[in-house]
Amino acid sequence: MSILNSILNSSLTSLRANQLALSVASNNIANANTPGYTRQRLVTSPAVLDEAFPSIGTGVDVVRVQALRDQMVEVRLRQETSAKSGDDTLTKTLSDIEVLFNDTDANSPGLLQAMTNFFNSFQTLSQDPASMNFREEVKANAQALIDALHSRDTDLRNLQNRVDQAIAPKVDQLNQLTSQIASISAEIKRQEVDGHAANDLRDRRGELVKQLSEIADVHELESDGDYELTTKDNRLLVFNGVQRKLAVSDVTSSIGNGSLKANLDLRDNYIPKYLNALDQVAYELTQHVNAAHAAGYDLDGDTGNSFFASLGSAADASRLIGLSSSVLADTRNIAASSQSTGNDNQVAMQIGNLLTNPVFTGGSITDQYRSLIFTAGSDLSNSRSNLGEHESMVTQLENRRQVTSGVSVDEEAASILQFQRSYQASARLIQMVDNLLQTTLGMVGA
């Protein structure tokens, strides 16, 4: 009897284990497309040996539900996600900036064209320095150049503001995520104290950390059941169930990657770099034109006047550049002559020649401006190729993650088949034991 009971029992454990395995498989299929879901598997082992009959087992033990996670891939995936998201943000804003310096089309009005027109109008003035029409043309072209510089300065500053204003909401988002991560971590700890693997909660936490990685690079550390989430300078964001909020003032030192870092870079490095280059162009333009202009004589024989309003330094030059009050008041005050009397054109020629004169930092003024175009273009092109590289890495790592953790519906279907048959076999066994028991009982009854 006891042997039959033992068969009954082991068949029962098999029924239970196969049911569980079926439910694990169905859970896998249900989550086949859930982002961050890790494939699970029922781990079973032969049940402890019956002491009376050392060579026969007592069925199957369900050990646990195991999540098939490749920790190494997960960590790298997060790193690459940070890098990709940073490059993505960088590329978007740098594209906006590039438009401001796109002078590759000769027919579209750009800063370079405004510059060329300005100096050429001085060349035209040199044909007839007494012409009021030519003088008005010089003034109009100067105003157009000033407007072009102002508008680029304004656009860059607006972009800088936009990037700066995006930082605080990003930090809020980061803190919201760490708060969710902390509460999930507390729950995981609670569940796992009892020895249950909190696989699904871990998946949810993993997905949140991945979202967090898009904003900033973070490091996870888990040992002895303690969970830590830190920034690159080891600032604690989460310790088990406790969240430490990141302050906006700490981002510069704590963030090494991700879209938040890209915003910081744009605000503190890229945009100031372009602004400085633009300021330098505007400042040197003012200085050189004024130096030549002040040495010349206007139509009334006056000398020593500036063409552009004087600037003290290169700081904010592209915002502050403007016509001097005397030129603004009357174009007769434009100095074209090197003589106090007559309508000599030496000074007009000299100013016109500044277009190609290599007296500016980095050559002529067009060379100087060209290097700004080149810098803006290559910054964007670099960030774009980095983005492509990191996108490929992310795809590759996602695929590697899928190799271990992804759900294959076919595989699950095969498992279902396997567990189904096994369940059927155990059920048949129980039926058989029942028959045997009836036979035994029949013997008693007879």
């Binding site: 086949a32 497309n33 740098l94 594209s95 590039e98 438009v99 796109n102 002078d103 590759t104 000769a106 370079l112 064209q113 060329t116 027109n117 050429n120 060349q123 035209t124 040199s126 044909q127 007839d128 320095p129 007494a130 002559s337 003589q339 009397t341 007559g342 309508n343 000599d344 054109n345 020629m349 016109g352 020649n353 277009l355 190609t356 067009t366 060379d367 060209r370 290097s371 175009i373 080149f374 273009g377 290559s378 910054d379 964007l380 092109s381 996108e391 795809t395 996602e398 695929n399 899928q402 190799v403 271990t404 992804g406 759900v407 294959s408 519906v409 076919d410 595989e411 279907a413 088949l417």
Partner: protein, 292 residues
């Protein structure tokens, strides 16, 4: 390696993105005819294109300056041609008054009127500006005083324009080198007129010599102007030669290889069709189809 359905879809999406990117790039090259549309497409190429465009604009200004200068020089030459005829006529009048004293008075009157004409030649304007006053372009360089003496109000400036990076073209010769240079034509003519009126043949003779010298002065000035015009022509042909080579450089650097772009477009389209067709096949077959 385990391959799951998720990988198939992810790879399909990524491949579609890439094909679309290539397709779009080929399309924009074909529609714009340009290899690059923004500096980031190729920063150093963009920098070159910007330089070439800048040089074109610079050269266009030199050509405008050159046209202006040449038109002024050619005009000046015509004016000086007229001046030579007037001087010839004066010499003829003077010579005929030596042989025929009665012609003296009427001849002297014509000389006086020729003198006035030459004053107005000295005050010739081109596009409203005096061309013989040096840089004094807005006021007449030759002013006739009440005693009918003529003084030069201009200066010695040559008034050049820029026609190349280090090349300037002189566009005028100051009156001080012609009318009131080594020979002052106006005092010569006054003296001639006075000598003719008084029948002073020796005086007339002396002035005729001066007039002949003046003819030489005018002819030297015309040679100088011809030299400027000649130089302008050389500069112009240099500028247009460089324009041509620059245009071809620009074309080479900037223009898309349309044949290549079209074949790239066709290839991308084929790739897109194939990718879409293959994508539609993903997971059409599954084990579940065979389970009864």
């Amino acid at each position: 390696m385990r391959v799951t359905e998720g990988m198939g879809y992810r790879n399909l999406l990524r491949d579609l993105e890439r094909v679309h990117e290539r397709l779009q790039k080929a399309q924009s090259q074909i529609s714009s005819g340009k290899k690059i549309s923004a500096p980031s497409d190729d920063p150093s190429l963009a920098s070159d294109i910007v330089r070439l465009n800048g040089e074109s604009a610079e050269s266009a200004q030199y050509q405008r300056n050159l046209q202006f200068g040449q038109s002024k020089l050619n005009f000046t030459d015509t004016v000086l041609d007229g001046l030579e005829i007037m001087v010839e006529r004066t010499i003829t009048l003077a010579q005929s008054s030596i042989s025929n004293a009665t012609a003296g008075t009427s001849g002297a009157m014509e000389v006086d009127s020729l003198r006035d004409q030459i004053i107005s030649v000295g005050n010739t304007t081109h596009l409203g500006r005096h061309i013989f006053g040096g840089s004094q372009t807005t006021t007449p360089p030759y002013v006739k005083a009440a005693d009918s003496s003529v003084s030069y109000q201009g200066n010695n400036a040559g008034m050049s324009v820029q026609v190349g990076r280090a090349v300037t073209l002189q566009t005028q010769i100051p009156g001080s080198e012609i009318f009131s240079g080594s020979i002052d034509i106006f005092s010569t003519l006054s003296d001639l007129s006075a000598a003719m009126k008084s029948g002073n043949n020796a005086g007339i003779d002396a002035q005729i010599k001066k007039l002949q010298q003046f003819s030489d002065v005018v002819s030297v000035a015309r040679t100088k102007i011809a030299g400027f015009v000649n130089m302008g022509t050389n500069v112009a042909s240099g500028l247009s030669a460089r324009d041509l080579s620059r245009a071809s450089d620009l074309k080479q650097e900037q223009d898309a290889d349309i044949a290549q772009a079209i074949s790239e477009l066709t290839m991308s389209q084929t790739a897109l069709q194939a990718t879409l067709a293959a994508g539609a096949q993903i997971s059409q077959i599954s084990l579940l189809d065979y389970l009864k």
